[in-house]
Symmetry: C2
Subunit: 608 residues, 2 copies
């Protein structure tokens, strides 16, 4: 049976617990039926008081991190205090041969948004943990002394060891030191200086198969890890028993169907593998939804200089890698290795949102400058989307001129990286910069920076920003797919109609996908190719010996959203926080679209 590894940083003890049945991967119809059989009197009236409505699907990934946070973290606690908990959980399909299933979820109460938070990342740790039989790691408490620690995780449990050498160092130094000592077959999760300084934009880095870094980016989970005084976690999978499949043949068939769907869909099979996520620069610019100069315009003059096409050609011409996967088993390979003019490696996992944010949003039309920023952020350990929004607001405040790439990189390196007073203003998020300089043109929801799609001209994503349980987050319900890419239907991005329903359906589906350990990009085939969803459900059933249906997956998604929302309400985050900043009433060229939803229209979202 899978285990929960619990780490108490107050008294520096650890324990290994059996995974409770409702958190195990033994759920869905199997569990609901078991609960009903045990607790509901067979002769009761279906509409009477003795009947029970049971939501219980097997939990992994986001479903599990949110369940643990909702159950164990007091909603009004200080996110950086001893009562918050940091939870890691692999997805239901992680560790299996399913394509693109290697995502790891991290959850806690977010210091940035004050809400519950889940952020998932690639890298190697998720698959190792599952093969080691670890369902989740729960880190609680806080040391009273000033010392720093590392966690050494094996199949038998966790050891807490004092760390001195790597404190104050960047993430790359951590990876290098760990690999020098333990070789390349271990997993690493670490924080950089931003996390150590408990900055609200700090992320948690995860080593990928090539020793590069992936990130649990959003919501400041790196600050939570820093508040627990953990510099890094070493995952040593030696002797891991591996993953057992309840029905290997059925799994194999489903996995093949699933992989075929991924390869057949034009977005996951062609667009993303060729150009990476940055294919979106030209797409969004064309749609008038590429936020430019801190959300003043929907198109950027310099879009060609930073587009996915230009980036692909640049990397190819310089001898870099145009394809790269964030975890073993990825068949999309949307990452890449960006190199400089001399062909020397600069960064990987160089995403559309980062390039949008430092590019159009800050009016920087130089990919080399943005690539340097990406490298610096990986090393400092700070979220690239939040940082992009931070820099836009910093330009609004006049701290550096619009378009000044080297200036932005100086702010990252010299101010944030070194924790100067200005660096602390910046490192605590776009909202923090707005407060410090008394600005109102601050694109955030629940204090989290709004990413790369203008909510006025891509209205479905605006509903997602407003209503997501985690602050402005495009991945929470990627309406861009249907509004712009015409995947899963076609909802006009400029009209109000249909967006709330679109965002709701996508947010429900995403909460479920985030629980499987699958990369979110599997949503593209799922939305268009009916066999893809069936294959996912079949894989889960074949993994655990269940008989879930598609409805169970929807029920799981709904249940996760409701759990998260209940936590937020208890934390004091209400519908009043489901609002975009007032400046979005300003028309954005070229469509001169405005954000024109009433409060009541937005609040319809939660009617399910």
């Amino acid at each position: 049976m899978d285990k929960i590894f619990r780490v108490n940083m107050t008294n520096l003890t650890t324990s290994v617990e059996d995974c409770p049945a409702d958190w195990a991967g033994l759920g869905g119809r199997g569990l609901t039926s078991a609960v009903v059989a045990k607790e509901v009197p067979p002769t009761c009236h279906p509409l009477g008081p003795n009947n029970k409505l049971v939501f219980a699907s097997g939990l992994g990934g986001r479903g599990l991190t949110s369940a643990v946070v909702a159950k164990e973290v007091p909603p009004t606690c200080h996110p950086l205090g001893p009562n918050n908990k940091l939870v890691f959980a692999s997805g239901l399909l992680t560790g299996t041969p399913a394509a693109n299933s290697g995502r790891l979820s991290a959850g806690a109460k977010s210091p940035l948004t004050g809400t519950i938070k889940e952020s998932n990342a690639g890298g190697t740790a998720a698959q190792m943990l599952t093969r080691m039989g670890v369902k989740a790691i729960i880190i609680e408490g806080q040391p009273k002394e000033q010392a720093w620690y590392r966690l050494a995780i094996t199949k038998d449990g966790v050891k807490i060891e004092e760390e001195t050498e790597l404190v104050g160092k960047g993430n790359f130094a951590v990876v290098e030191a760990v690999q020098a000592q333990h070789g390349k077959k271990v997993g690493v999760l670490s924080i950089g200086p931003a996390g150590e300084m408990r900055m609200k934009a700090a992320n948690i880095s995860v080593m990928d198969p090539d020793g590069k870094l992936r990130s649990h980016g959003r919501g400041g989970l790196g600050a939570v890890m820093g508040s627990k005084k953990i510099k890094y976690m070493l995952v040593n999978p030696e002797g891991a028993p591996g993953v057992t499949l309840a029905d290997p043949e059925k799994f194999k068939t489903a996995a093949r169907t699933f992989a075929k769907a991924l390869l057949d869909h034009p977005v996951s099979g062609e667009g993303l593998p060729t150009y990476g996520t940055n294919i979106l620069i030209n797409v969004l610019n064309e749609a008038g939804g590429l936020p430019t100069k801190n959300f003043r315009y929907g198109q950027f003059e310099g879009h060609d200089k930073i587009s996915g096409e230009t980036m692909h050609d640049t990397i190819a011409a310089r001898g870099g890698k145009t394809k790269h996967g964030c975890h073993a088993g990825c068949i999309i390979q949307c990452s890449q290795e960006y190199v400089d003019q001399a062909g020397v490696y600069v960064t990987s996992g160089f995403e559309y949102e980062t390039i949008w944010g430092f590019g159009a949003n800050c009016c920087i039309d130089n990919l080399d400058h943005i690539a340097e920023a990406d490298h610096l952020m990986d090393d400092i350990g700070i979220d690239s989307i939040e940082s992009a929004v931070i820099m836009g607001v910093a330009m609004e405040a006049g701290l550096v001129p619009w378009g000044d790439g080297p200036g932005v990189n100086r702010l990252l390196r010299e101010e944030i990286g070194k924790g100067t007073p200005l660096g602390r203003i910046l490192g605590n998020g776009a909202s923090s910069v707005g407060v410090a300089y008394g600005l109102t043109r601050v694109p955030v929801v629940k204090d989290q920076g709004i990413p790369a799609y203008d909510p006025r001209s891509v209205k479905g994503i605006g509903i997602t920003y407003a209503t997501s349980t985690m602050g402005a987050d495009h991945t929470a319900g990627y309406s861009v797919a249907t509004n712009i890419l015409k995947v899963g239907g076609d909802v006009d991005p400029l009209k109000k109609e249909g967006q709330v329903e679109l965002s709701r359906n996508l947010q429900i589906a995403t909460a479920a996908v985030d629980s499987t350990g699958l990369c979110l990009f599997v949503a593209f085939p799922v939305l268009d190719i009916p066999e893809a969803l069936v294959a996912i459900v079949d894989m889960i059933n074949a993994r655990f010996g269940l008989s879930l249906t598609g409805d169970d997956v929807t029920a799981l998604g709904m249940s996760i959203l409701k759990t998260e929302r209940a936590f937020n309400l208890a934390a004091g985050i209400t519908s009043a926080h489901d609002r975009l900043p007032e400046f979005f009433s300003e028309p954005v060229p070229p469509h001169n679209a405005v954000w024109d939803y009433t409060d009541a229209e937005i609040d319809e979202f939660w009617n399910f």
Copy 2:
């Protein structure tokens, strides 16, 4: 009929409006009866749907500012954006011969707390405005350009004039320049550099009868004024028609009874006039409720060096003034003029909370250092209580050593006053400092600094901090009176019993007192001498020709609190925000008292 002066800073226009009946000083039973007579069918069932419950007392001061904000400000608006409004209103008795009636209320949505906010101050403007027939000034909108303005207010209306010369200057320079040009018979409300920089701790200064400064201190209203680009407001009472009393004889009798009660009570008649509010240092130290070293201890070793007694003797020995009033007609005279060793004026309005905050809270046992801080804060235009809590957290962060008076004054002068990055971290409140340095020992409620009474060893004030509609604020319901000074009864400060009821009764009464224009210190006689409350009600009746009773005053207080609470709930501030920071579960010597209320016990407060 009294007028509302409305100022629109977006299009730079002003207007003079008739005061709506429900905002006029023509309320209470007269108005409720009129509404019932007009709107309720006489034959309806009292418990049926056609009956109406009407709360309507005449509104002034806090009652009026909160009514205007609740009616006209969208609760979710950005406090520094064009949709917030800044409202000034004198109290119901302001401008009359009633003793201690010269307080001016300022209201808005607070940038510090996110709640509705009222902050009242002495000075000369309130009485001038009432004599000019101005019921309230409502300032709305926001200029699109970068220019700064001043408002010139006469009995005929408001003129908006561009201001250049005084921009960037401190409050004392503003007063000096205005007096040089307009003489001493005008009123001045101004902001210093903190307000111009829209810092969340910025206050609004009001000139007092001696050309010194009083402050609308709490909640960052100076930032709201700064966001509207108003450097100062000049009140010229020339030709003011003055105040008419409906029943001068009745007023005179009541005013005499009221003044006698003020002079007869040991606190308002003896303690405050002799030692000022700083008499409390030794009282709270003795009670073990003097928060020391950022709320670690309840007693301060150096208390004798900063006590009211020492301060009185120091001022007397140096030839300063031990008595001083903040407005004409004050018979308590709790202010003073503190001078340096050479007898040169340093500061006035030098309050217990300031001296506690820079003294015990920061371990500074030197009154001269604290007096310099007080002067600097007046000039920069920043709240002295928030600044005191800011400095305690700054010491927690290691920015200056504990006890370093000159260090603290350097932070005020060189960092906050000059708007350096560190100054902007500090100037945005204790919570901002906590965020920047990732600290959890940050004594705030709703992001407003907790003042000078430890909530663990003076539990009634803890309930007020938690439940006040305006963040941590001792004046919202000064339970210290009954817990420690044994005024209005005796509720053991260390026991949980009775505190919620005590705080509730005091908060209701305070909301009403804050609407009269009376200094809050009238509460001491009101709580102990039955004739005092009768006299206040009689004065209001004699002023406006009403027949209110004491019950109407209670109903007014309740109605104000409920109006404010409704605004807060709509703004997303819920019971989850009615909580003290978690570190108050730590025992505080000498009593080793802890904050041990359950959420449900605190939430009982709103059951009325």
